[in-house]
Every structure is written in structure tokens, then in C-alpha cells.
């Protein structure tokens, strides 16, 4: 078994209201010096058997088909 991590983040040019909300809370909590926060998603996939190139390619297809929406998000596969 191998674990593959997929990070999905809103594209830089897409407004991220959730990240903005988190950033807005920081000064109220006394944390200063944080100029921007962007919020994304982390997926942990447990892959059966050996992590072959084919398996990694499959995870890429999973990431672009379901885990992310390519219109608004970018993803990175950490195999």
C-alpha cells in the first residue's frame, strides 16, 4: 500500500472568499504580518499494491476528473 497526496488550490486569479475570511480573523486574534491566506483541499489516497507509473497517472486522472475543477482550481500530486 502506498499513500498518494493530492493538493487542490484555487487558481491565483480566482477570488478565495474562505481564505479571505481566515485572513480577516487573524488580526482580531492578535496575529499580525500575514498579508494573504488561501484555502485549499488535501486528499490522501491509499493506493493498492505497488505505486507504478501507471498508478500515478491514474491518480492524475482522478485529480483532474473529480478532485479538482480545472476551471477554478490547480492540483499537485505528491506520489
Amino acid at each position: 500500500m502506498a499513500r498518494v497526496v493530492v493538493d487542490v488550490m484555487p487558481k491565483a486569479e480566482i477570488l478565495d472568499p474562505q481564505g479571505k475570511a481566515v485572513q480577516g480573523a487573524l488580526p482580531r486574534l492578535g496575529f499580525d504580518g500575514i498579508s494573504d491566506v488561501r484555502q485549499g483541499k488535501r486528499f490522501e489516497l491509499e493506493v493498492d499494491g505497488e505505486l507504478t507509473e501507471e498508478r500515478v497517472a491514474q491518480v492524475h486522472r482522478i485529480a483532474e476528473t473529480l478532485l479538482s475543477n480545472p476551471v477554478i482550481e490547480d492540483f499537485v500530486v505528491h506520489a
Binding site: P10, E13, I14, L15, P17, Q18, K20, A21, L66, L67, N69, V71, I72
Partner: protein, 223 residues
């Protein structure tokens, strides 16, 4: 005319949508997300709500439901399909419509009687309206901000595929105040406001929404 209304787990406005179809003079047919069967309908409405709990992204799971396989197939063949609110999100996730819908820029759920301008009557769902007419529909969403890249927005404007635009203050941060768009053929329309909640004087802000359903029925009758 038989208009199917899909019920997903978490759909809220399927009953109102079926009622609106009947008010407009059509036969409303209940469709189920788990079936590969459109029961011979002539058009499909994807209603509002929070299908599959909005898990992952709004519409992302619904897009792969058995019924959507069939809806995507017939939409590509030209059958009229209207996605309202969550249905609009599903159509974008299905890539039947360009762009995506993200969380409102002000981060609050909005629920208002919204003024709109109908920008195009060259779709299966808006033929009853005069272009440029102002209407009032209920707008209720948390993730109604329409986004797409500049090239796509220019293409939509250039090809007259913006179906409706918000008037007054932008209620959710939608780029170019876009409230609804169509595909190139005009048979698939996505709309964030709810025409099915504006079909009778007693409930809701009037009857401005009825035209969406009447449009599809008249187009079918004249075909």
C-alpha cells in the same frame, strides 16, 4: 410536453419546479438521480438545492450520477435542459456550460427578490421574453459567484450567450454581473435565480419566472 425534473439526494426545489411546469401547461415527470432512465421526457430541469450535500464542490458528485450520464448525452443532441441554482452548478461541473460558480464574495448566503435583465431570448428557455426586459426572480444561494477567464467571458458576451444579468448591486460577486448563460446551441441554460419560485401572484415576487417554462413548451409545440 413532458418535462422531467431530476431529484438528487439534497434537492430542495424539485417539487416547486414540477409545479411550475404544470402551471406553464406542461406535464411534469419526476426523474431520479440513481436511474439511467429519462422516461421519454422532452426536456429536463435540474432543480436547486444542495445535491449530495455540496460535498467536494457544488455539483461535483451529482455530475457523475447515473441520470446525469443520460442528461449530458441528450443535451449534446439538442434536448432543452435548464439548470437552476444547484442545477447551474451541476451543468458547469458537467462542462455543458463554461465557467464555474464559487462562494459569494461577501461570504454570506443571500436570499432576495432580485431584479434581472433578460439579455438573450435566443435560447430554448427564454423565447417568451423580450430582449432587455427587466424581471424579478428569487435569488437564494451561498455559492452563486459566476467566474470564468477573460477569454471565456468575452466569448459569452460576443456570442450573446449571457442569458440574464443582475441589475443594481451585484448580489454575489459574479463577473460581469452574469446571472445565467447558455451553450452555443441555446438548448442548455444555467440560471442562478429561481424562476420556479415566481410563477403565481400568491407566493413569491410575481409571475416573471413562468416564461422560462412556457418558452420550452411553446418551442416544443412549434417544432
Amino acid at each position: 410536453m413532458r418535462i422531467g425534473v431530476v431529484t438528487f439526494p439534497g434537492s430542495l426545489d424539485d417539487v416547486d419546479a414540477r409545479r411550475a411546469v404544470r402551471f406553464a401547461g406542461g406535464d411534469a415527470v419526476a426523474l431520479w438521480h440513481g436511474e439511467h432512465d429519462l422516461h421519454g421526457v422532452d426536456a429536463v430541469v435540474l432543480p436547486g438545492g444542495f445535491s449530495y450535500g455540496d460535498y467536494l464542490r457544488c455539483g461535483a458528485i451529482s455530475r457523475f450520477s447515473p441520470v446525469m450520464t443520460e442528461v449530458i448525452r441528450v443535451a449534446e443532441q439538442g434536448m432543452p435542459v435548464l439548470g437552476i441554482c444547484n442545477g447551474f452548478q451541476i451543468l458547469c461541473e458537467s462542462h455543458l456550460l463554461p465557467g464555474a460558480l464559487i462562494r459569494n464574495d461577501h461570504r454570506k448566503f443571500g436570499c432576495v427578490d432580485q431584479r434581472l435583465r433578460i439579455e438573450s431570448n435566443r435560447t430554448a428557455w427564454t423565447q417568451e421574453y423580450d430582449e432587455g426586459v427587466e424581471v424579478t426572480l428569487v435569488l437564494k444561494n451561498g455559492e452563486g459567484g459566476y467566474v470564468a477567464d477573460e477569454a471565456t467571458l468575452d466569448m459569452l458576451d460576443g456570442e450573446g450567450r449571457v442569458v440574464a444579468r443582475y441589475l443594481g448591486d451585484n448580489p454575489n460577486g459574479s463577473l460581469r454581473a452574469i446571472a445565467g448563460v447558455s451553450n452555443a446551441a441555446g438548448n442548455v441554460v444555467g440560471l442562478m435565480p429561481h424562476p420556479e419560485h415566481a410563477v403565481e401572484e400568491l407566493c413569491g415576487p410575481g409571475t416573471d419566472g413562468l416564461g422560462f417554462f412556457v418558452s420550452a413548451i411553446k418551442a416544443f409545440a412549434n417544432a
